[in-house]
């Protein structure tokens, strides 16, 4: 942990300008201190004792959305997103993280979720905390908090599918935002708790629509040495829906009359976890048309500004970044934006003049409203 792990990245990135054209935060602000070179240089000043952490410098490190586009764009794939995360660990270690970030960690400590006590959403006929179900649906904290309609849609699909399913009550944070924000130990502890809750329910399939939770379960838990029972298969909702369609557990009787749907690739789902085709295939099946590709798409898709809890910790910057992405989307003149991450939905909804739907909501529209 800490700076020593990313010294090589720091050394290679601090004078290199080559990826700045791609960085979504830079595109929004045009500040050099918002570029991967900027982060590496600032951190190396601190590492070499030339500077101390200033408030502005700390703010910059928390204005990166950890989207990983710089790493993707780089010929040598230097892990700049990791560098930023390690810098945050240093900042947390000296207790200087911004108030909003502190608030997130404190909220998880107090309530189990970054956003405090959840709103009372009505999910309908939900069998919470069932043992040995086919599916355990893990909605994710920000979905519960800001997008109950997405929870409704996914649970509607589960009802429609005829599978037995359950949700955790209470559902607590998977640990991923804590990790991203510089609290690795706390993230590991949180992961242990979640893994225990999941093991107790022992589902065959763990489905989440949140790409951050998905990445935590698939990639980070094994890295952190937190094990889920090997009998539990983890799926993102896009893969799950695609599978339900292939197995004819969901049958579409009609198509939505939409010919210009843009699909925005969430960074965590696409670039970080390599899921690009399931959502595209679902859109094709639902509308009869392939989605219109936004100019930078798939692994080169720009972040919407929500990543790394930015939509919550620094809404001002997040909105600026979202505007850049919305301008790109607008160029395609779409009728609808579809995405597969609730935080992308939040960010894009805040700036777009057309509807933004999660992929589960798209399906539910053809299946016909409430499936509870």
């Amino acid at each position: 942990m800490g700076i020593q792990e990313i010294r090589e990245t720091m050394k290679n990135c601090r004078f290199c300008f080559m990826c700045r054209h791609a960085c979504p935060t830079f595109l929004a602000t045009k500040l050099d201190s918002h570029t991967p070179r900027g982060y590496a240089l600032l951190l190396s000043e601190i590492d070499e004792g030339l500077k101390e952490w200033s408030n502005e410098c700390i703010a910059r490190f928390y204005q990166c959305s950890q989207c990983g586009l710089c790493r993707e764009d780089c010929e040598f794939h230097w892990k700049e997103d990791d560098l930023v995360r390690h810098a945050r660990e240093e900042i947390v270690a000296i207790g200087r993280e911004p108030q909003n970030v502190k608030g997130i960690a404190e909220s998880v400590r107090r309530t189990g979720t970054p956003f405090g006590h959840r709103k009372n959403e009505s999910i309908g006929n939900v069998f919470k905390n069932q043992q040995n179900p086919d599916v355990l649906y893990f909605a994710g904290c920000s979905t519960h908090q800001f997008h109950p309609e997405v929870v409704q849609s996914l649970t509607g699909l589960l009802n429609y599918s005829g599978l037995s399913w359950t949700m955790l009550e209470p559902e607590i944070c998977c640990g991923m935002p804590l990790f991203d924000l510089g609290y690795p130990t706390f993230a590991h502890q949180q992961a242990e708790s979640v893994a225990q809750l999941l093991a107790d329910r022992n589902p065959r399939l763990l489905v989440t629509g949140c790409p951050h939770c998905y990445r935590a379960f698939q990639e980070k838990y094994p890295e952190w040495g937190v094990s889920l029972p090997s009998s539990i298969q983890v799926m993102h909702s896009t893969e799950f829906i695609d599978q339900l369609m292939r197995e004819r557990k969901i049958e579409l009787k009609s198509k939505l009359a939409l010919s210009r749907v843009c699909y925005h690739d969430p960074c965590q789902l696409g670039r970080k976890m390599g899921i690009y085709d399931f959502p595209r295939s679902i859109i094709h099946q639902v509308t009869g048309h392939s989605p219109i590709e936004i100019f930078h798409n798939r692994e080169k898709a720009e972040c919407c500004g929500a990543g790394s809890a930015l939509f919550f910790s620094d809404p001002g910057i997040s909105t600026q970044v979202a505007r850049v992405r919305w301008n790109r989307i607008q160029e395609e003149n779409p009728q609808l934006i579809v995405t597969a991450c609730q935080n992308c939905k939040t960010a894009l909804q805040g700036v777009s003049s057309i509807d933004v739907l999660d992929i589960s909501e798209l399906i539910i529209q053809v299946l016909g409203g409430d499936q509870s």
Partner: protein
């Protein structure tokens, strides 16, 4: 800093905020620090040696020409030095605020204003990153054909200001060949717009003053650039010539026989060994020459046929298309660390030189000798490629490198300056011009009088007339302190 000065600065900042809005005036140390280092070795050396950087008191981000006008007038009124900045990725410290003052960062001036599909032009604000402009053009079926290695990161205004060159320059020229019209905010705060076409005889084309002026004569705010339809075909072919002399002669024949290769790249023996080994696992002497043609398929084929004849007559061994194709696809790769030296504390610089054919090879050997023999004690390395060709001459792009930089700062700097002097002298004494495209800035500024002789008085006269108080990018291009 005393309370009074703090208070004064607050007032100044407040006034700047009235011009561009509070969110576009930055005074924070983080941004100043990151902007302090460009690609000039000295700026990195300053960092390694913990030297304090010259820094502005504020950085402003205008979004339109009108705001630039108001900023320039404000600087005049308060006698504040100001420095225009594009990508900040120049090689010569050109955007270093050596006298403090204000940095006018143009990267928010990135709008594409008009695409003219009839006369094939695009009108654009000067702060746009070249790659963003090219992406826009490509999506509409066009290209600017300007592909410098800093394409990802430098701005159009920066390229105009250093009169940059891209890898397809042998056909498409330097930036000065790519721009029809410029809009510039002059140091007196008025707007100058050159005539809508540049090939006229209605007086001199005054826009030429600003190509290569490195922000010392005005701030470029808008340009009308030439564009081309995306080529139907682009084909590369590579050859191994027995020696550098034969390579240069073969290249010359291609250029003087009316062919228009988009790509001409001749590598010296050092670079050739490296390339052949990396690419083909070959240990072979000689010099690789890559050439390429683009445009309509029939024209490409016809030109390639003639080029093949010339190469055969010149003793060139045809090694096919693969090397060129791979190079084109990966043309920026070597600029990423760890391949780029930039990540190392090594002393390095490029001293690109252009000269007529009769002089170019001699300059190459003289410069190589001056570096390798003159600085043998420090194990100085020198290698080069010849990458911008014309029908009257060509240019080479040499890199010198010293890995064991002396610990003593005075000694290190004196070696660096002596190396620069040696390269410049090797060039000018043998009829060449040093700096083909990497900017003069502070790196070569002190040598401008040497390079031009008394002729440089004209430059000083123009500077004094346009910017009598020397507030605009002072100290650069050898135009005063």
């Amino acid at each position: 800093m005393s309370q009074d000065i703090d208070y004064l600065q607050e007032e100044l900042i407040h006034e700047l905020e009235k011009i561009v809005g509070p969110e576009r005036v930055l005074t924070d140390q983080a941004e100043k620090d990151v902007q302090s280092i460009d690609v000039w070795w000295i700026t990195r050396y300053w960092f390694f040696n913990r030297e304090p950087f010259p820094q502005p008191f504020a950085i402003v981000f205008p979004e339109c020409t009108e705001e630039v006008v108001r900023l320039v007038r404000w600087c005049n009124e308060h006698q504040v030095p100001y420095v225009p900045r594009g990508g900040g990725a120049g090689d010569s410290g050109g955007s270093w605020a050596i006298h403090g003052g204000l940095v006018i960062d143009l990267k928010r001036m990135d709008k594409i204003l008009e695409l003219n599909k009839k006369s094939l032009t695009v009108r654009v604000q000067s702060g746009i990153i070249q790659k963003h402009l090219e992406e826009y053009l490509n999506r509409h079926g066009y290209t600017m054909n300007h592909f410098p290695a800093s394409f990802n990161t430098s701005a159009l205004g920066g390229f105009i200001s250093t009169n940059g060159t891209g890898v397809l320059s042998s056909k498409y020229g330097k930036v000065s060949d790519m721009v029809h019209q410029l809009e510039v905010v002059l140091p007196n705060g008025t707007i100058f717009k050159s005539l809508p076409v540049r090939l006229h005889s209605t007086g001199p084309d005054y826009s030429r003053l600003f190509f290569g002026a490195e922000g010392t004569l005005g701030i470029i705010t808008e340009a009308l650039c030439k564009i081309y339809p995306l080529p139907e075909r682009r084909t590369f072919r590579s050859f191994i010539l027995p020696s550098l002399s034969e390579g240069i002669e073969a290249g010359r024949k291609i250029m003087v026989n009316g062919l228009m290769p988009c790509l001409m790249r001749l590598y010296d023996e050092f670079d050739t060994r490296h390339i052949l080994k990396n690419q083909f696992g070959l240990e072979q002497d000689g010099c690789v020459l890559m050439t390429g043609f683009d445009g309509l398929g029939k024209i490409v084929d016809a030109q390639m046929e003639v080029a093949l004849d010339i190469m055969q007559q010149s003793g060139g061994k045809d090694i096919g298309e693969e090397l060129g194709n791979t190079w084109w696809t990966n043309r920026y790769r070597s600029y990423y660390p760890p391949l780029d030296y930039i990540c190392e504390p090594w002393m390095t610089a490029v001293t690109d030189t252009v000269a007529p054919y009769e002089n170019i090879e001699k300059i190459y050997w003289e410069m190589k000798k001056a570096v390798e023999e003159g600085f043998q004690k420090w194990n100085a390395q020198f290698h080069a490629h010849f990458s911008h060709w014309y029908d009257w001459g060509t240019s080479f792009y040499p890199t010198f490198l010293i890995k064991n930089v002396p610990e003593d700062k005075k000694e290190a700097l004196s070696i660096y300056h002596a190396l620069i002097d040696a390269c410049v002298m090797a060039s000018i004494k043998n009829g060449g011009v040093i700096n083909e495209h990497h900017g003069i800035g502070l790196r070569f500024g002190r040598l401008m009088k040497e390079i031009y002789g008394d002729n440089y008085n004209l430059a000083l006269t123009i500077k004094n007339a346009l910017d009598p108080d020397h507030l605009l990018n002072p100290g650069k291009l050898g135009l005063g302190d």
